[in-house]
Symmetry: C2
Subunit: 430 residues, 2 copies
């Protein structure tokens, strides 16, 4: 745990540097798998699933019966919890629906927008040690609200060749009809090109390890959009003298248990917190089942003491954290000043966990400083906006002469002519 007191601004960028990602090393593998899946389809997908996941599958699509069995195997308690989370996520994402924009920019010149669902989307749910069914909620709920016609879910098979009941239950709850036991690069390639059983989609969503991340980046070369580039998950906490150090430590640890490469940073103006926190973290870490992982992430974490709140705010905006917790007696100052962050958690009783699962906000967020230019996943991520214009005869008379002049100045005579022809016709009619 690195403890830093009043670092100079010139040192901030190296202090806040994220671990470099090794895109280039992985690219060759990704390109090879993409080519194989493109040309050999399911055969290649099954081969890579055997190679990387150690599973000899006969079928990659999860059957109706398997989904029904999963639904029966979830406890009523957990179903109620998932339903509560789903309901909150629906509320917040439904509130993001925007009315169509309609403007008469000049008399007779009507412009408007209409948002339409992206017809086909792919949702990637990582596998690994835990079944991340909460990510199914975060992606499938807005996809369903947007009205996407085809929603395809891919997730790597676990050790018995199946998907976790929780993932299947949540997918079923969100109306997803197509679920495939395919993960890693081969899943992203399948969603990009399509195969005999997996449909190609227009946009791919969801987190993943570095292989999936590079595969998504490569997929954008072949006509597919992605939600956003991804890196390891991260949390920055700003806490002042009013903060409870046990609460803050628990939040830092909840981020740290995600992975050894998780980023955890505390920025504070409180000397008390700065000195208490290490002890508190170590005490809370001991009983954790994932303490090995959390411990490594905590080793790379940073506690930074700064002189005043303005400096802290500057540091927040320079780091652009995926998750940001603000515990401050002066919280309005921060709420007004935050320029770059994915999702912000305000106050002592708003731990990151709440937003990870159930407050209603989305947990698929920009990491690695991308909060400077990307939003987290939201309803609009599943829509695109089409613009329309309808110009009356009067309207064309109003803007036509300006268009003619501008087209002429750009050397585009045919653009001008399309206007002139119509204006002449209108003159003849007068």
């Amino acid at each position: 745990m690195e403890k830093v007191i009043n670092p100079k601004k010139a040192e901030w960028s190296s202090l806040l540097e994220r671990p470099t990602q090794t895109v280039e090393d992985i690219e060759a593998t990704v390109n090879e798998i993409f080519q194989e899946v493109k040309h050999k389809g399911d055969e290649a997908i099954l081969r890579y699933t055997s190679l990387f996941d150690g599973q000899q599958l006969e079928q990659i699509e999860v059957s109706k019966e398997q989904i029904e069995r999963a639904v029966d195997n979830i406890s009523e308690e957990l179903k109620t919890a998932i339903n509560l989370a789903k309901s909150n996520i629906e509320w917040f994402h439904k509130a993001q629906i925007t009315a169509p924009v309609e403007v008469e920019t000049m008399e007779g010149v009507n412009c408007w927008t209409q948002k339409k669902a992206i017809q086909k989307v792919g949702l990637y749910i990582p596998g690994g040690s835990a079944p991340l069914f909460s990510t199914v909620l975060m992606l499938a709920v807005p996809a369903q609200l947007a009205g996407c016609e085809e929603v395809v879910l891919c997730s790597p098979p676990n050790k018995d060749g199946s998907l976790a009941n929780e993932i299947l239950y949540t997918a079923h709850l969100c109306g997803i009809k197509k679920v495939f036991k395919v993960g890693g690069i081969q899943a992203i390639a399948a969603l990009t090109y399509g195969s005999e059983t997996i449909p190609a989609v227009y946009k791919i969503f969801g987190p993943g390890n570095q292989f999936v991340t590079v595969a998504k980046q490569i997929a954008t070369k072949y006509g597919v959009a992605i939600d956003m580039p991804a890196g390891p998950s991260e949390l920055m906490v700003y806490a002042d003298e009013s903060a409870n150090s046990a609460f803050v430590a628990s939040d830092l640890l909840s981020q740290a248990e995600h992975g050894t490469d998780s980023q955890v940073v505390l920025v504070t103006t409180s000397k008390r917190l700065f000195s208490e926190l290490e002890v508190e973290i170590n005490a809370q870490m001991k009983p954790l089942p994932r303490k090995e992982i959390a411990g490594k992430a905590i080793q790379n974490s940073k506690l930074i003491l700064l002189e005043d709140e303005t400096l802290c705010l500057d540091m927040i905006n320079e780091y652009a954290p995926e998750h940001l917790i603000i515990v401050s007696e002066n919280e309005d100052f921060f709420l007004k000043g935050i320029k770059n962050a994915g999702s912000v958690f305000v106050g002592a009783y708003t731990p990151e966990s709440a937003g990870d699962y159930a407050s209603g906000t989305n947990h698929t967020l920009p990491t690695n400083g991308y909060a400077k230019q990307y939003s987290g996943v939201n309803l609009d991520s599943f829509l695109k906006s089409i613009t329309f214009q309808k110009i009356s005869e009067k309207g064309l008379k109003n803007i036509g002469p300006s268009v003619e002049l501008m087209a002429e100045a750009e050397g585009l005579q045919a653009h001008k002519h399309a206007i002139t022809l119509r204006l002449n016709q209108l003159k003849r009619q007068e």
Copy 2:
């Protein structure tokens, strides 16, 4: 000009295929220039400007004096036209401002969003035969409305080593303070890494040739976002028996003059239009200064006769045109049914030129079928949405137990603990 009557649906995808782009061939060049600009900054930029643009520049930044001189050199007539276009574009993009979303998803659980400007953006304006100052309007107006703090414009120097007066005037009008005479791959590399004089930005906007397009794609590997991938410009027209064939021909030609690789497609249910159009196009093409270019694009263009409107609508949605003109007695059928298009022009007096310059809609639009998953540039392209949540003690009691259960089921005990700790504290206080 390929004329096709009632093609079978199975043939549509090859019929509507866009020319393949040669990303791979260009990647090596792009990577090399990126490395040079990253490590050698201005020296490399000047070297490539000499190599590719044939200009030995001493300064790449356009001075205040040069901008003032440009302003004096634009005719009052053209200034008025540009001002009118700017005003319409402002109206339409200002109308896209959305209110913050605020929802209490459960009692004591408050979630909201706030949109914030992307602080630093780069606008790329292509050079070549004509000064595309209209693109300056389309990018700079929403950047200014969004409140981007730093707006950087790059455009390649023309044959006398300067930028066109029209570009400088329009940039000045839109409040852009930093204008650089740098184009091509080296401009995109400079905006990605920054150099001694050109600031690095968070997102790069604007069209360009295939080198710029590949450079933007590569830039996304290095922490920069882009507006969208780009391909050659394209127009699909649906016109029925009611359409004026001279108007339709003028629209097809206005698209065709953009470049020899422009895509021009007419879909119609009218046998009259289908047979008249070729003669009309040839007649209108003759006097055009860019008839060589338009002629080549028209050679590759397609006139497609289909049996009914439903098939035409299906073909529109399968092609997902950048620009779509609808001239139909049954226009509501199309307006309701369009799923994939960049910008739509409705009716006989709404030529594409009107939207290219002055109706108010944006002309930076998804090409190459990307209208299936991308919006054109709009106000939100310059903003990102940050989510916030604030949970009261009551709120945490409401959602806490569900979060505990879900975190447990995902095997994330520290996530659970961050809740349990707080709920225990609340119990003690009771």
